[in-house]
């Protein structure tokens, strides 16, 4: 009976585990294998070449450019998202007229695929007829339409702002979950203790939200680092690779230029970076769970 009890839960998790291991595990091994071989455009492996593919990647200025932009993209979007989302979550957690409507509107970008969002923005930013130009000209902010996506620096900036916009709902959701778990009586006690609203934010909200902020940072870093559709749909990394980040560059190498060995090498490098972020995340989550468990023991 005892051995059966141990077996039953294993049997319950096994089918899903097998599928996940197969669909996620096989590609990782295949990429590792491919990255060490010479590969034809059509995917035939032509024998081991050691770390030639990696060497090629590291001597490629486009890789370094993409890497730099990936860093800028990730840091800007994540920081921008956090700075905007925390006050928004605090507002949405409070009771005010129209809160339900506000919540729905703030969460809307999450409901829509990044692809669609990017397609719509690509049209809205159209240099000749785009409605953003129309709006800004109607408001008298400018007299001539602007080609938003024709110049790399401007296009990249716009893309980062859209990146922030679409990351806000998820981040706000994490913060709302966090805020709703904060002990209400701590706020009452602090009112009696003489805290102003600012004191409450500084000494209670912020420290107690720290685990949620940490998790929001790590998750957003992972998502933003991996985000392809916005840049791909709006500029395809152009003009002249000026908005390429690692994922778009990787996609081009693999499916446009057929440089499969090099693409595999970049995939593996990214996988490594991602793994590092993930380990940070897992450690954060586990630590958090341990704290909660310790608290519940009482």
């Amino acid at each position: 009976m005892k051995s059966l009890n141990g077996f039953k839960p294993l049997a319950m998790i096994l089918p899903g585990l097998l599928l996940a291991m197969f669909i996620i595990g096989y590609p990782v091994l295949d990429l590792a294998n491919t990255s060490l071989q010479e590969v034809s455009r059509f995917g035939q492996l032509r024998g081991f070449t050691g770390f030639d593919n990696f060497a090629e990647v590291f001597s490629d200025p486009l890789f370094w450019g993409s890497l730099k932009r990936t860093a800028i993209w990730t840091v800007t979007v994540v920081l921008g998202t956090l700075v905007i989302s925390l006050p928004i979550a605090i507002i949405l957690n409070d009771d005010f007229y129209g809160r339900g409507v506000a919540r729905v509107i703030i969460m809307l970008p999450w409901a829509i695929s990044l692809t669609m969002t990017a397609v719509v923005w690509r049209w809205a930013l159209n240099g000749r007829a785009g409605l953003l130009n129309a709006t800004l000209m109607d408001m008298g902010i400018m007299t001539e339409p602007i080609e938003w996506l024709a110049e790399a620096q401007l296009a990249f900036t716009v893309e980062m702002m859209i990146g922030i916009l679409v990351s806000i709902p998820f981040t706000t959701t994490i913060f709302l979950g966090g805020l709703s778990s904060l002990p209400q009586d701590s706020y009452e006690a602090s009112m009696v203790d003489g805290a102003t609203r600012w004191d409450q934010f500084r000494y209670i909200t912020l420290p107690l939200m720290k685990p949620f902020i940490n998790i929001a940072i790590v998750l957003n870093v992972i998502y933003v680092f991996n985000s392809l559709p916005i840049i791909w749909v709006m500029t395809e990394g152009g003009p002249a690779n000026g908005t390429d980040i690692l994922v778009t560059y990787l996609y081009k190498l693999a499916f446009r230029f057929g440089q499969l060995g090099k693409a595999s090498a970049i995939s593996l490098i990214m996988f490594g970076v991602l793994l590092l972020f993930t380990v940070i995340y897992v450690v954060l989550v586990m630590r958090d769970e341990k704290d909660t468990a310790a608290g519940e023991d009482e």
């Binding site: 899903g16 409901a111 990044l114 996988f271």
Partner: protein, 276 residues
């Protein structure tokens, strides 16, 4: 209470820039979708237009093969959701109810796969589907979506399952129900809302996915909606923007409505520990 009114005004003033930026693309989408074709490119650009051209939707439906893409998206989203749920429900139940060897390792594995993005593995996934002879086959998407969604669905489900009191099942056992019986009669009915919510989020994930669909699907007959709409825009000299926007309206508005209705459950699920 006047102080609440004052607070509300301040809050809305603070939120309004963001609200405008969020609603802006929706306005762009709607206004373009019903605009006559020859008023797309006018100088200077303007919001106004002469008449509502509802025919754009019908034209777009025929010209862009929208119906087929809609069907493909439904097919992939529904099947991947069913597959993910069928595999996740027992796993989530096991996680929330039983101790078992390797539980900690399994939870870590789930957290890690939750973080794995298809884009990093896209080349390997493509080669896997080549090896399986499934490139160009919608079922390749069903398999990959289900696999990548499972971490999320298991987390969501187990956090809800943990809130269903164990006593209820134990009471059923004492009342003479078998484990299976109590599972079917007591547990599952209580878990239906959780499963429905999780299913809808999994569906939306599949509905919105782009990179894998772009990679695996070769023939335009098999395009899902995001890829189909993207293909109307990418690499074309002449983009029929009114059709593209009509397509995005049809593809996004229903999902946005369902999502708005359900977002509070997502917040709850996260508060319960899908993220924590």
């Amino acid at each position: 209470m006047p102080s609440k009114l004052k607070k509300s005004l301040i809050y809305w003033a603070f939120l309004s820039p963001l609200v405008v930026v969020i609603l802006f693309p929706f306005a762009v989408m709607l206004v373009t979708a019903v605009r006559p074709r020859d008023e797309l490119f006018v100088y200077p650009p303007r919001w106004g237009f002469s008449e509502f051209r509802w025919d754009n939707f019908a034209e777009m439906w025929v010209k862009t093969n929208f119906g087929e893409a809609l069907f493909n998206s439904l097919y992939v989203s529904v099947l991947s959701t069913v597959l993910a749920l069928v595999l996740s429900i027992p796993a989530a139940y096991a996680l929330s109810r039983y101790p078992f060897p390797g539980k900690g390792a399994y939870r870590t594995f789930l957290l890690m796969t939750q973080m794995m993005s298809p884009i990093v593995l896209v080349l390997g996934l493509f080669r896997l589907m080549v090896a399986l002879g499934m490139v160009g086959n919608l079922n390749s998407l069903v398999l990959t979506y289900a696999a990548f969604n499972m971490a999320f669905t298991i987390w969501m489900l187990q956090s809800y399952f943990s809130t269903i009191p164990r006593d209820l099942e134990e009471a059923a056992w004492i009342d003479g129900a078998s484990h299976l019986n109590s599972l079917i009669r007591i547990f599952l009915p209580l878990a239906v809302p959780a499963m429905a919510v999780t299913a809808i989020f999994s569906f939306i994930n599949g509905w919105n996915e782009f990179v894998l669909a772009l990679t695996m699907i070769r023939s335009s007959d098999d395009f899902t909606l995001p890829v189909q709409i993207y293909s109307q825009v990418a690499g074309r000299y002449q983009v029929e923007w009114h059709h593209v926007m009509a397509g995005t309206v049809l593809a996004t508005v229903p999902v946005a409505i369902v999502f708005s209705w359900l977002q509070k459950y997502l917040i709850r699920g996260m508060a319960l520990g899908a993220v924590k």
